[in-house]
Symmetry: C2
Subunit: 218 residues, 2 copies
């Protein structure tokens, strides 16, 4: 009975995700769902891409509480909608549909969604996105692909952030990459530090190309 309800919730969400996808297709919007643990660097990633990527950009900010991240985005002069879930551990497609109606992004725009800081739950909920990105912080340690394979396996791109603390933390590159290799995900990895800027331009270039392919429907 509990399992049936969970299935119902996921099926209902999948339907809403299709509505979001149709809306985005009609309006030529590219939707990017950004996943990651609390403090992995999701906001820093979005802020960096707002600066580096061409074209019009918008942001949907998901948080349990507070408007801290939305304020950071707004200060950059970017249109942003804040979703506070109260206690809920993930965003759902219905809310994204409403947020898009509020944002009314122009044709050809990119809309970033910052999901709730949680390496587990958001991965089960399709938001109708064109691209799903995981921000995985080096500060969390090198064993994360081994311990949270479910989320890693659902994403299109893995950004290893905070690479400048690798030495301090004693991060073992080989072990992290071994975890990715076991999941056949090694070619999805890009390394970056948004604090020092290392790898930032490469990430922007990669994403620009990737998004161009997505827009062409390739």
């Amino acid at each position: 009975m509990q399992i049936k309800v969970i299935r119902d919730i996921l099926e209902k969400n999948d339907k809403s995700a299709e509505h979001v996808r149709r809306l985005c297709r009609e309006r030529g919007i590219t939707l990017i769902n950004v996943l990651g643990s609390p403090g992995a660097g999701k906001t820093s990633f979005i802020q960096s891409m707002l600066e580096h990527l061409p074209g019009k950009k918008y942001v949907i900010e998901g948080d349990i509480a507070s408007t801290i991240d939305a304020e950071k985005i707004a200060r950059m002069g970017v249109n942003v909608v804040q979703i506070n879930t109260g206690g809920a551990c993930h965003l759902i497609a219905d809310t994204i549909y409403d947020a898009l109606q509020q944002l009314t992004p122009e044709a050809g725009a990119i809309v970033f969604i910052e999901n709730i800081g949680n390496l587990v739950c958001p991965s089960s909920f399709d938001l109708g996105e064109s691209l799903r990105v995981l921000v995985s912080s080096a500060a969390e340690g090198d064993d994360k692909p081994h311990k949270y394979p479910t989320t890693f396996q659902t994403v299109d791109l893995i950004i290893l952030s905070k690479c400048d603390v690798k030495d301090v933390i004693g991060f073992n590159d080989g072990y992290y990459r071994q975890g990715l290799r076991m999941l056949d995900l090694e070619d999805k990895l890009l390394e970056v530090s948004f604090r020092t800027g290392a790898g930032e331009q490469e990430l922007a270039d990669y994403l620009t190309t990737k998004l161009a392919y997505i827009k062409k429907g390739l």
Copy 2:
């Protein structure tokens, strides 16, 4: 209907938690539920306390996948049970009851439970513990009490870990403490680095005293 089911799940869990609590009371066991984000330092905290706290100790390791942490504990010669949830984002009291039957801890022992790495979901699930500890990593940033108040408010002790990376990360102590103060939690904070050992002995001393009070039922 969905809300009713979630309430049913929580009520069922609360009943199981009472069974765990009764079992622990009868056998004189102190149960410590350790919460925190992925990579916050939950295992490091437990390993440190296994070394520093007096008396017999056991561990229940919760993970989505893998036995990495349980192996670390076993290498220390400590009895450990691994729970792999598959995909579930938190531990439940029923599973803890079963794990305790398997561990059969001796009278007067401390049993640590390492919950799933998740700063959101585990806080809603009482495991029948005597003490709930949050390991909050400085590497996650100084805004966490502001953004995840729900979990912070349910714990008895907040351990700010990885304090040795504060400078690298640009961690603002005042802002972190302001977040705790708003939740009336500032006196629950202890700072530590399990890598350098700073604050480790103070933490062990604090916990030894606290556990002695709990055992006396104060």
